[in-house]
């Protein structure tokens, strides 16, 4: 028996350590430790509720936009205007969040995950005429290979020409994700930490030149997703078929749903692009009941309440050096069970709800790879689901854009109530995102966030059940303990964001 400790896990957002116990080459146990606490929930207390729009985005600079949307929905709900947000504002919020998330998925596949599969050193042999690849070859020849070396060695399987092409796409993707940021900028001022989404609606008035500029940037994104990103996911999937067999983990999936497709007054009944619900590997849909969520902290560095708390009653009382605790991440559970959130959960929930577009995309992908449907619940299944999620969004954005009505309202006025409670749910890039607020004396009395990676990177819960990433690693055979590719590939397939998880 021995241990493998990886600290820091790089190419994720934030500070994460993974510690495993390995016996006969197989992971017997895994612990996931988030190692930065900032206390944004404590900082929010006593402030003007509207200021949460600025402060909660600072939970994460990689995925600030979903926080802006979750916060605005939270405050809309607390201010009693959730059913009154003008259609223009609903659509602009969708466009801003959608553009942001398409670029975020591209960022994840190319800039966070790909270097686990693609051999950038192979560009040293490039003899073609492409200027970008030639410049990479010259970079390699100069001999200072930071930040691309050192790395784990021994399992880069793509053929040389495919690998070289993927390196070129890594660089193309840098520009594509920048264009995605420009789309957010058009409608929301700037990004990271945009300003356009506020309680009551949005701050900008849509104009024709915004629509056309957004449209032609969108077409670049759409083309890249369809012609480059998805084919590259298939190329990696074909070379690493064993990664459809590992990393499943808890096999329960939860999605809050996102992107209201209609403006009817009852927010809960609205049709959405991504459906709300819970499911498992059997793909049977159950309705989402948010009252069943509770955060466990027995193994987290916080004071223990008498029982796990629903986020509307949530507490954040840091207590380092607590017996049995090993992470700043709390452990949210649904119905007391461990649930994974993220693109795979979104795709599974839409599939289970009978969404024909998703069923066709998933079934045809698995058929093309000659895989059973159970293969979706795996490392490579997460990459595939993320690409499908990006395609669904990229394809939907154009239609939404032309639903905008320049000149029509984008904002509804409100009074900050003396006392109120609210909650706002959405789907961030990395999964189910919820904000809860309690207002007293027109100020924030309590603000709690349960963020996607809070679910996925959670430590053990009060009952001792390991979190989704911990479960996904456990049982995995490690081929080479000096180059534990399996562990980092499993962890990165969740696209962890630790600043989010702990906040």
């Amino acid at each position: 028996m021995s241990t493998i400790v990886i600290d820091p896990i790089t190419r994720i957002e934030g500070h994460l350590k993974i510690e495993t116990v390995v016996e006969d080459g197989v992971v017997k146990d895994a612990h996931s430790t988030g190692s930065l606490f900032r206390g944004l929930e404590l900082i929010l207390r006593g402030r003007d509720p509207r200021d949460a729009q600025v402060i909660t985005q600072r939970i994460c600079g990689v995925c600030p936009q979903p926080h802006a949307v979750a916060c605005a929905r939270n405050l809309d709900s607390a201010f009693g205007i959730a059913g009154k947000i003008p259609d223009n504002a609903r659509i602009i919020r969708n466009l801003i969040q959608g553009a942001h998330i398409v670029q975020d998925h591209v960022l994840h596949f190319y800039h966070l995950a790909a270097l686990d599969y693609v051999d950038i050193a192979g560009v040293a042999d490039y003899a073609g005429g492409d200027a970008v690849l030639t410049s990479v070859r010259e970079f390699i020849e100069r001999g200072q290979l930071g930040p691309f070396m050192p790395r784990y060695e021994g399992d880069y399987r793509l053929p040389a020409h495919v690998s070289q092409q993927a390196c070129a796409h890594y660089i193309d993707a840098l520009e594509i994700r920048r264009i995605g940021s420009e789309m957010v900028g058009i409608l929301s001022g700037k990004i990271p930490h945009s300003v356009g989404v506020v309680p009551g609606g949005v701050t900008c008035a849509p104009t024709i030149d915004m629509v056309t500029s957004f449209l032609w940037k969108l077409k670049r994104l759409q083309q890249f997703v369809n012609d480059v990103y998805i084919p590259d996911v298939f190329a990696v999937a074909a070379a690493y078929p064993d990664y459809f067999e590992i990393g499943a983990g808890c096999r329960n999936y939860l999605s809050y749903g996102a992107y209201d497709l209609e403006g009817q007054a009852d927010v809960v009944q609205r049709n959405m692009l991504f459906k709300p619900g819970v499911t498992s590997q059997d793909m049977v849909l159950a309705p989402l009941d948010v009252s069943r969520i509770a955060e466990n902290v027995k193994h987290s560095w916080y004071e223990d309440p008498p029982a796990p708390l629903h986020p509307s009653q949530g507490e954040t009382r840091p207590q380092f050096a607590k017996q049995d605790a090993y992470s700043w991440v709390k452990a949210p559970r649904y119905d007391g069970l461990v649930y994974e959130v993220g693109p795979l959960a979104r795709v599974a929930v839409n599939y289970a709800s009978g969404d024909q577009t998703v069923r066709t995309l998933v079934d045809s992908a698995l058929k093309r790879l000659n895989l059973p449907s159970s293969a979706l619940f795996s490392v490579m299944g997460r990459h595939l689901a993320r690409a499908i999620s990006a395609k669904l969004l990229a394809d939907a954005l154009e239609g939404w854009l032309f639903e905008l009505k320049p000149g029509e309202p984008t904002y509804v006025e409100y009074e900050i109530p003396e006392e109120a409670t609210g909650f706002g749910l959405t789907e961030a890039s990395r999964g189910a995102l919820g904000h809860w607020v309690e207002i007293r004396g027109k100020k924030i009395y309590n603000y709690q966030c349960v963020v996607p990676t809070t679910w996925n990177a959670s430590p053990r819960d009060d009952a001792g059940n390991p979190g989704p990433i911990e479960q996904a690693i456990t049982g995995t055979r490690i081929k080479d303990r000096d180059n534990p590719f399996e562990i980092v590939r499993i962890v990165r397939s969740f696209d962890p964001c630790l600043a989010c998880a702990i906040h």
Partner: protein, 291 residues
């Protein structure tokens, strides 16, 4: 022979927004910065950046430590994030040393004392920013304050903003590469390069005429000056109105939202409530706070 300028990018109490903003750099783009010769004959050798680097765990900390010892006095340390100093650094640690968690504060002191110069990128590293906001749960402090307390004297430049515009970061580095560290008269009292932070937002704002004529927006989306909606442009030094963001597509006030003062040492406690009118007493007389 191409000159290599080694850089270590340390992330502390941060949201990674400063790094993502740098990824959005348009000209030069991030590929030009990392792979090409940023200025003919000079390449920025990014040795350590946890969000981008290929390796993991012990092997990448080894790179950080090798750079520190083998290039002593020759590398630029970029810090993104405030430094949590409460309770011996238990709120933030990176890797281990001798079997114990190694705090961000200890890493900073070690890396800074062996560096050529320190760039505090973003408002958290420069002034404390969001994690240092009241009640400052982890006693976060700016980089300079932590170095001063430890008696470490290094050339230090603050490049605040939540996040900073990528041009501010890239061109500060380009300036160092082209002509060396900035002179004292090229920085303001907060150690910000005057080239980017020399004027108030209010001085160059395209809605300034509305302010002068007393035409004020009453709600988001209205035309007119955003002063009554809480704009902090009158106390905020940055060139956002002329530089604009995300490859020049737009900027905060261009999207109809008030400036929240994010490049200031006063952000966020004294520039909030963000959507309330700036008190007359603060108008044009920024109150500098010390941490």
């Amino acid at each position: 022979m191409v000159k290599e300028v080694p850089v270590i990018w340390l992330q502390t109490s941060t949201c990674t927004g400063c790094s993502v903003s740098l990824l959005d750099s348009a000209s030069p783009n991030i590929k030009n910065i990392l792979i090409d010769q940023i200025i003919p004959g000079t390449h920025i050798s990014l040795r350590f950046h946890a969000t981008l680097m290929a390796g993991s765990g012990e092997q990448v900390l080894q790179v950080m430590e090798d750079t520190m010892t083998k290039e002593r006095g020759g590398y630029v340390l970029i810090v993104e994030g405030a430094i949590p100093t409460s309770s011996a650094g238990v709120f933030g640690f990176i890797g281990e040393r001798d079997g114990h968690p190694f705090s961000m504060q200890e890493r900073l002191l070690e890396l800074a004392s062996n560096s050529m110069a320190v760039l505090s990128v973003g408002t958290c590293a420069s002034f404390g920013g969001i994690p240092a906001a009241q009640p400052n749960p982890t006693d976060c402090r700016p980089v300079k304050s932590v170095l001063d307390s430890a008696g470490i004297v290094k050339p230090l430049i603050n490049i605040p903003g939540c996040p900073p515009h990528p041009d501010w970061v890239v061109n500060t580095i380009a300036g160092i590469v082209l002509k060396g560290l900035p002179r004292a008269d090229e920085l303001d009292d907060n150690l910000r390069p005057l080239a980017f932070y020399g004027k108030l937002i209010h001085e160059t704002c395209p809605r300034r005429a509305s302010f002068d004529e007393g035409k004020f927006a009453k709600k988001p989306g209205d035309e007119g000056c955003l002063y009554e909606l809480g704009c902090k442009g009158p106390i905020t030094y940055a060139d956002c109105p002329t530089r604009r963001w995300n490859n020049g597509t737009n900027w905060v006030i261009g999207a109809g939202a008030p400036c929240n003062g994010c490049t200031q040492p006063e952000f966020p406690d004294l520039t909030s409530p963000f959507y309330d009118k700036l008190p007359e007493t603060l108008f044009r007389t920024p109150v500098l706070i010390q941490r």
